[in-house]
């Protein structure tokens, strides 16, 4: 009885906030948080006050005003009558298209270069070493400019492709001709044939963005084909497990995978529209401007060099015993790499790969060096300059880049969780 009453009473005293280790950490954290919030509040207030002193308020109304400038690469329709907000969206899309294609290309380049760098072939391994060292040790903006200068200065002019009657009479060849009669690389752009439909499905307009039903239909057919093929293969495996004989599948698989989509495309009248020299430039087809190509090539090669090193590190991290065991089972080196080494290496490769993807995404803003109108070029460039809303544009731009980066890293983290080693 007496013992229980003798136990120290757990009464909270104010001094415990400092002297009791149980509470001290909370005290410090709250104090720091309050200071941080005060600091942020002070900065915001100070900025607004200073802007106000200069007669500038903070307002995002400019996003709904007419932009008045033109953008040559536009994934959704845009004219100079569109708003600054729409120009921003065009910029975001241009950023995303370089980032996505760039990440894919860099991964392909990186994996190939990383694997080849470990090749037993001395020459191949050395060439890859040179590639990696050259690309990752020179600033990427220089590569972007080099790529751009190379494309704009060494390629022929559109009018070099011109064939006049006099030239035919004289039997002269034009100074330049199209690759395979379909692709024209000029000092301005790369013009490739465009797939067009002669009997397309109607186009819907959702939130002023035209959405092609033909494309959606095609996408749906592809998805259904892939799912059908998967079911077909499960069934085949079941047959194999039952009878021990695997039925011949390749032509049925091909038919299921590609048959329906090809049929649909033929029904809609798919054909190619070739670029043609008309007036000053090539018309028709798809025109890919060199600012885009230069940015894409430079970023992919640069980031590819880093990814190559990640891949090499991942492969080297797998103990020698694994490959020896694979060889002992009679797997050829290629199969051993694909079936044994790479799946294990992936869990080492993916986390640093996320950083590389983020780097590439953020580096797209260097497109400004070659006049590529991405988010930095539209919102953070022309819009900011024409409206004089530096603060608003910068804050908005930072926010958008932050969101894009967070999306990229969350997708990659999800993938990482899917492939990481499951301990049993």
């Amino acid at each position: 009885m007496t013992l229980a009453t003798d136990a120290p009473k757990d009464v909270f005293r104010l001094s415990m906030l400092i002297y009791d280790t149980r509470y001290r950490s909370y005290t410090i954290q709250i104090a720091v948080l309050v200071l941080l919030l005060l600091f942020l509040g002070w900065i915001t207030d100070n900025t607004i006050q200073n802007l106000a002193e200069r007669g500038k308020d903070i307002s995002f109304n400019f996003l709904w005003q007419r932009a008045g400038y033109d953008i040559d690469q536009q994934l959704i329709p845009y004219t100079n009558d569109s708003t600054h907000g729409r120009a921003t969206v065009i910029g975001i899309l241009n950023t995303l298209v370089v980032a996505i294609i760039g990440c894919l290309l860099a991964t392909v380049i990186g994996v190939v270069a990383g694997v080849l760098r470990l090749s037993k072939n001395w020459l191949v391994a050395r060439i890859m070493t040179v590639y990696v060292e050259v690309f990752r040790n020179i600033p990427v903006v220089l590569w972007i400019i080099v790529a751009s200068v190379f494309l704009t200065e060494t390629q022929p002019q559109p009018r070099d492709f011109k064939v006049t009657d006099e030239m035919i009479m004289a039997g002269e060849e034009p100074k330049a001709s199209m690759l395979f009669g379909a692709i024209a690389i000029t000092g301005r752009s790369t013009d490739i044939p465009a797939p067009v439909l002669s009997r397309p499905l109607p186009t819907l307009e959702i939130a002023t963005v035209p959405v092609s039903l033909s494309f959606l239909a095609f996408l749906a057919v592809v998805v259904v084909s892939v799912m059908a093929n998967r079911r077909f293969l499960t069934r085949v495996t079941a047959v194999q497990e039952e009878t021990g004989v695997r039925p011949v599948t390749w032509w049925k698989s091909l038919l299921i995978l590609f048959g329906p989509s090809i049929a649909l495309l033929i029904a809609m009248g798919l054909h190619l529209e070739y670029p043609e020299l008309k007036g000053f430039n090539f018309k028709g087809g798809i025109s890919i401007n060199h600012a885009f190509s230069a940015l894409l090539v430079a970023l992919s090669l640069y980031t590819g060099a880093f990814i190559a090193e990640n891949v090499r590190a991942g492969i080297m991290a797998i103990s020698r015993g694994q490959s020896e065991a694979a060889f002992a089972l009679g797997l050829r080196p290629g199969r051993a790499m694909k079936l044994v080494i790479l799946p294990q290496a992936l869990r080492v490769i993916i986390p640093p790969l996320i950083s590389q993807y983020l780097n590439l995404t953020k580096n797209t803003s260097l497109g400004i060096a070659v006049g590529y109108l991405d988010l930095r070029g539209t919102l953070g460039g022309i819009t900011m300059n024409q409206t004089g809303r530096e603060m608003e544009c910068m804050v908005l731009m930072m926010g958008i880049y932050l969101v894009i980066s967070l999306i990229v890293s969350s997708i990659m983290n999800a993938y990482n969780n899917a492939v990481k080693l499951r301990e049993r």
Binding site: N80, T152, G187, G371
Partner: protein, 338 residues
């Protein structure tokens, strides 16, 4: 944390800028140096010479202002600015005055909060093409690729012009004149558009200027002038009257060479006021009474500067045209100095 750092720096700069904002004249005097925002390189207007010193029509105005305020035309620090960052640099106090072929417009005056005290060059936007392109009018440029400096009024005029004439074009956006030149010469664009004076200046730096023509259409009004921050009237007045002094000097026939002689012999009261021999004109503005004399001594009067930098005797070869004095049918007209 990164964001906080950025906001911190931003706040720090705005605080500094705010401090520097009120009395630019006092700041310049205290600093002993004029910070002048200039074109990174446009021959004839502002470009570094072989010794790395900025020379040209716009650069001369900066030197005249420095001479008026500090009594020494060499006390200018030229800050090269691209067309895209120039107004931000001025608004944030990075430069005291921006003399960079900048067009005075309504929205720059009222939205960007700038003031254009004077117009030192009346210009209009034109197009330059290679002669062998076989184009003689800008209206024949349907479907052409056009190089354009980003963040300029020309960018908006271009869109308007093509839209108005119902023709199309592909824009190639570049950062500054030198980049535009490279792209134009490499053939990345069929036409290069900017202020007609800029085109003439760019053309003069080509190895083969005779193979390039400037099309006859002038598609806009481009009144170019020095810009200062809105709200600092005293500093705006310094810029305005330094410039006016150069105009009046031309009107009165005062040149760099004969200034000493005029000073000794002139009985014209306006000349005597201008040169600080009579009255307290300079002091009224917070300057020295010899301020405007120094400004004229820096590079000569407006006409002298024009002829020496971009006039018909230079490779750029621009005629006075609209920029002649009002007495000779031009638009350059200074309010009386009294």
């Amino acid at each position: 944390m990164k964001k906080t750092m950025f906001l911190g720096t931003l706040a720090a700069t705005t605080v500094l800028a705010g401090a520097a904002f009120a009395g630019t004249l006092d700041d310049v005097k205290a600093r002993g140096e004029l910070l002048c925002g200039a074109n990174p390189g446009l021959t004839g207007f502002a470009a570094p010479d072989a010794n790395g010193e900025y020379q040209g029509f716009d650069a001369a105005l900066c030197k005249a202002i420095a001479a008026a305020v500090l009594g020494d035309a060499t006390k200018v620090k030229f800050v090269p600015l691209s067309s895209e960052v120039r107004f931000t640099a001025l608004a944030s106090g990075e430069v005291d005055v921006l003399v960079r072929n900048s067009t005075a417009t309504y929205s720059r005056d009222n939205d960007l909060k700038l003031d254009f005290p004077v117009i030192n060059y009346y210009d209009g936007q034109g197009f330059m093409v290679k002669k062998d392109l076989g184009v003689s009018s800008a209206k024949e440029l349907d479907g052409a690729t056009v190089c354009i400096q980003t963040g300029t009024t020309t960018e908006l005029n271009l869109a308007d012009f093509f839209k108005h004439n119902n023709i199309t074009y592909t824009p190639v956006t570049v950062q500054d004149d030198s980049e535009a030149q490279r792209n134009y010469l490499a053939g990345s664009c069929d036409a290069f558009t900017t202020d007609a004076s800029g085109l003439a200046a760019v053309r003069s730096s080509f190895p083969d200027p005779e193979n390039h023509i400037i099309l006859p259409e002038i598609i806009s009004k481009e009144p170019l002038g020095p810009a200062v921050r809105h709200g600092d009237n005293q500093w705006g007045d310094v810029v305005r009257w330094t410039y006016n002094a150069l105009l009046i000097a031309e009107e009165k026939g005062i040149t760099k060479a004969n200034l000493a002689e005029v000073e000794a012999s002139s009985t014209d009261p306006e000349v005597r006021r201008l040169l600080g021999l009579e009255g307290d004109m300079g002091v009224m503005l917070g300057l020295d009474n010899a301020a405007f004399k120094n400004a004229i001594l820096a590079n000569g009067n407006y006409g002298e500067i024009f002829e020496a930098t971009i006039g018909t005797s230079t490779p750029i070869g621009l005629a006075r045209g609209l920029n002649a004095l009002w007495t000779q049918g031009g638009l350059q007209y200074a309010a009386p100095f009294r």
